[in-house]
Symmetry: C2
Subunit: 601 residues, 2 copies
């Protein structure tokens, strides 16, 4: 039973969680393998005993949740079984290029197809008033932070919430994974790997990205859709209408909405591990359901698989955002989960999808589990989502398709820069408003009060009016100091959150647009393929039609993005300026009050 | 005619002033000794020719304006001729102790008699929220900057006005000194020395201080007054009445006031040297007179000689305060000269004095010169001023005299600390408001405008409302940036100036109070002196009476100080807060305007 094991990655225990801090390379003794939930109990050389994520430890028995790294071959074949032989294409190269390229190092994902003439896009990434900040605060969405589309907010936006790469999330390691593993498919390895990945940092991240996060890339290139002989029947179709602004999704009569609230702390494994459960109440049923973070995460993976090629699915708030206080952390994550759910509810395609409805309206545990199984078996994922899309308008020629694509690429790239600039400046401002500035007003206040105290000691009569006024003025500046320090939570916070959300959303466009770029490339190859009779002339026509369909989808999505963007920025700027006005008016009123106490007889 | 000379101190030429930059130790050739005004024309080894202050140069002929340093003996005897033999006192020791002590090194003048139990007064000097600033910004008034009471404002308060030790003042070096030298007396060496001193830095400063600046110390200790057999007749007397607040000077019906304005640049020596002339219009005659800075300086010296022992005479704004631009410098110095004149006008004793009236109301050049001669011959200077003071109230016993003195000493010391704290904090605030803060608002404004530009490129219709609003909001924050940067000139400036003025004024109290301390010590020696029949018993009674008179004078002066202080601080705080209110209200209004442009339909 004295089974020794090697530690693979550093892991820092979360206080009061029965965990054990271990260092990479350290040897530990396994004292209990049957904790479950991806944890094992181990003892270090100093005799300390505690829980360690099993993925962090390597011992003889190969855990199913820890496959050898770099097994792209086999992983690629997964789910690829049914797909036609498309090997005549200079296969995945172009398609998976972005993923490979971007994952391999911190390159600019936009650069792959960036047609923006304005110089090297890497410079563009760095375009930010204060050079100093850029490096740290405008990280490439492909940085090694786990999710390829990972919401980098906390990185550019430390304010109270920081990424903690060492602290693992409790509530994603419990035994539910086991029942999920039993469902087979690549979900299993994913759950484990994404965990290992987040903990271990960038270990084999590129693999994870290309294997698991983008079925659209990993299982196939767009050619799977472009040349698919026939689409599965009876799928619910996604019509695209022509509105004032151009192609638009079909929007429901009443917009779905939901409220994320009432986080409750639960515990399992005889209290060894704890988790948090949120109550979600959708506006359609108005009946609350409970979900843990890992359920949101599951939903995110499903939506990404199913819609990721056509619709940018923003990542969830980072698992490892942590507040200085647990309440703060819970409140913050709930706020961000609410933001994420609201955005998903607002999306006509996502919100009406079966899996999303399941998440919001499942009746009981059984209903939920069955729904999960079904969703995980869904075949219409990756590029095949386009097979369900039905534009009412006539086909577009390839030129137009390409122009649209480039235009959206340029815009999203430019907006990404703009948003990051606001985040950088906002972060600077946050630091100043919560740091030096209030300190200074406090010192001004103290200086007035100290002088008042001196005056009181003069022994001269008729002093009190001045000294009272001076003291009051001093206290006023102390009040102002406090107001200044608290203001950012009231206004800047929301400006930052909104821009963070958009930063995350914009980080998804490189993938979504990438699929189109790849499709366009395929269609361009068509002539050659016909000439060498690799495909029939009819196939070429089909490819053109389907590329047009993809373009309508992208345009509908862009129009959806624009209308939401206009609403969101109007809203947040109104809120920001409203609070700013209140802030300055309150200060003016306080000072006027202080002023009234001085008198020159 | 190829007279060689050695350069004694570094001198940096003022641009466009025909001056020659020379370094200490350098040898130059005198090309013209007859320039006058304390200047000679010299040629350096590189053949460059220009004007150099003659005091900077040492050549065979000993200039009357450059006596050997450290000749305290002979200098002491000057003006001492008529005084009785008081050698039986452990003579000047106690009296001149402060001066020596303080001048010798940067010691705390308060420390000499500081009865404040709250720890070493050197610590007190450093008592200032941000330790960092103290050292540089709260210099001891006895620092080596020429005037012992030198207004150190610019030192603690760099904002646009800095001390420039290299640039000499033009308008104090013209030939008027010559006619003054002809008047004999120690004025001659003073004019030259004080000049040399300011240029050469701290050379023999202590001597200058004890010899010239404090006749009260240098010519005699208070015993000169305490034991004077009989006072000069027919002097205009200075009555002290008993008011509500205690002993008070007699105040005139209508307070004298004057306006310093209309600075004009004149030039002399065939345009070689230029100077600035100010127009001063007193409220009593309402007839403007012109004066150059050196005339103010002359007045200051006269007032210091005559009243310095009883009344703190604040130094003039530092000669070498310089602005980044000449206009700014002239404006600033005029503003400070106005402040100084206003304070002098407000003082009942000073404003009614003959020399002050001469300065404000002389009819013509002849009138002025005659008045000058007379003033310089005035015998009632130093401690003898007390011989003209006539309190109406009964004599105070020594205990009471001592208590009052200690109380005032404690208060002025404490206020000095308080004022310096405000100056330090204010200076910090000034830097922030004119530096990082506006930059930040500018960046916020730019970020909004940049995002607006990106949005404009979306190609989505119905964009303009948002983009216009965003641009307007951006411009608003740019406006705010400018407002923030300009605000300190509108409010903080006056708060700083007032506190600087008080810092200068408070720097004079150690001397004024010191004279009293010395007098008290003398009276305490009286018994011993009677016992050893060095003095008659009657002399002891006289000494007590006169110490009482000195105490009344000090109390009257303190009450004058307090009433002015209460008025000044009420006034400046009103002004400061009024401007602050306007500032914040304007910002709020601008932001409300910006807010109104956003809309969530």
């Amino acid at each position: 039973m004295a089974l020794k094991a090697q530690v693979l990655y550093d892991f820092t225990a979360e206080p009061g969680n029965n965990e054990l801090t271990v260092k990479e390379g350290e040897t530990v003794t396994i004292t209990n393998q049957n904790i479950g939930g991806g944890w094992i109990e181990a003892q270090n050389s100093r005799g300390e005993v505690g829980l360690v994520p099993e993925d962090y430890i390597e011992f003889s028995k190969a855990l199913p949740s820890f496959p050898g790294a770099g097994t792209s071959g086999p992983a690629l074949s997964v789910g690829n079984v049914a797909s036609p032989d498309l090997s005549f294409f200079d296969a995945y190269a172009p398609t998976s290029a972005p993923a490979q390229n971007q994952a391999s190092n911190g390159n600019d994902p936009w650069s792959v197809w960036n047609t923006d003439p304005s110089g090297g896009s890497n410079n563009n990434w760095a375009s930010n008033p204060e050079g100093t900040q850029t490096g740290k605060n405008a990280p490439d969405p492909w940085g090694s932070h786990g999710h390829p589309q990972a919401y980098q907010g906390p990185d550019i936006y430390p304010y109270p919430y920081l990424i903690d790469y060492t602290g693992a999330e409790d509530d994603e390691w419990d035994d539910d994974w086991d029942d999920m593993k039993s469902t087979g498919g690549y979900v299993e390895s994913e759950s484990g790997d994404s965990g290992a990945m987040q903990r271990g940092g960038a270990h084999a991240t590129s693999m994870k990205i290309s294997l698991n996060k983008f079925p659209g890339f990993s299982k196939s290139g767009p050619e799977l859709y472009l040349l698919c002989k026939q689409f599965a029947k009876g799928k619910d179709k996604l019509p695209i209408y022509t509105g004032e602004v151009g192609p638009v999704w079909s929007y429901p009569e009443s917009q779905l909405d939901c409220i994320v609230a009432d986080p409750k702390k639960g515990s399992k494994m005889y209290g060894l591990k704890s988790y948090i459960e949120y109550q979600i109440t959708p506006s359609n049923t108005n009946r609350p359901v409970n979900h843990r973070y890992k359920h949101f995460d599951w939903l995110y993976e499903r939506l990404l698989d199913k819609f990721g090629s056509a619709i940018p699915i923003p990542s969830l708030p980072d698992k490892q955002v942590t507040g200085r206080f647990e309440e703060e952390f819970i409140k913050m994550r709930m706020e961000r989960l609410q933001g994420w759910m609201t955005r998903m509810c607002r999306h006509p395609v996502v919100s009406s999808s079966e899996v999303f409805q399941l998440f919001l309206t499942y009746k009981d545990e059984k209903d939920w589990k069955m729904g999960k199984r079904k969703a995980e078996k869904d075949e219409t994922v990756g590029v095949m989502i386009f097979s369900t899309i039905e534009p009412e308008a006539p086909d577009l020629d390839l030129i137009e398709v390409e122009q649209k694509c480039d235009q959206f690429s340029r815009f999203t790239k430019a907006m990404d820069d703009g948003v990051k600039e606001i985040l950088t400046v906002g972060h600077e401002h946050w630091k100043r408003c919560t740091g030096p500035l209030p300190k200074e007003y406090q010192r001004i206040g103290k200086a007035f009060q100290n002088l008042s105290t001196v005056f009181t000691s003069s022994g001269y009569q008729g002093e009190s009016t001045l000294t009272d006024a001076l003291t009051a003025a001093g206290k006023t500046y102390e009040d102002i100091a406090q107001m200044v320090a608290e203001q950012p939570k009231k206004d800047l916070h929301f400006l930052m959150e909104t821009n963070n959300e958009y930063k995350g959303l914009l980080g998804c466009f490189p993938d979504t647009i990438g699929v189109h770029k790849a499709a366009i490339d395929k269609v361009k190859e068509a002539d050659k393929l016909v000439a060498t009779s690799k495909i029939a002339p009819q196939d070429k026509v089909t490819m053109g039609k389907r590329a047009s369909t993809m373009s309508y989808a992208l345009q509908a999505e862009m129009n959806h993005f624009h209308s939401n963007r206009i609403y969101d920025y109007n809203r947040v700027m109104q809120l920001y300026l409203e609070e700013q006005v209140k802030f300055y008016e309150t200060i003016a009123a306080k000072l006027r009050q202080a002023h009234s106490q001085f008198t020159t007889m």
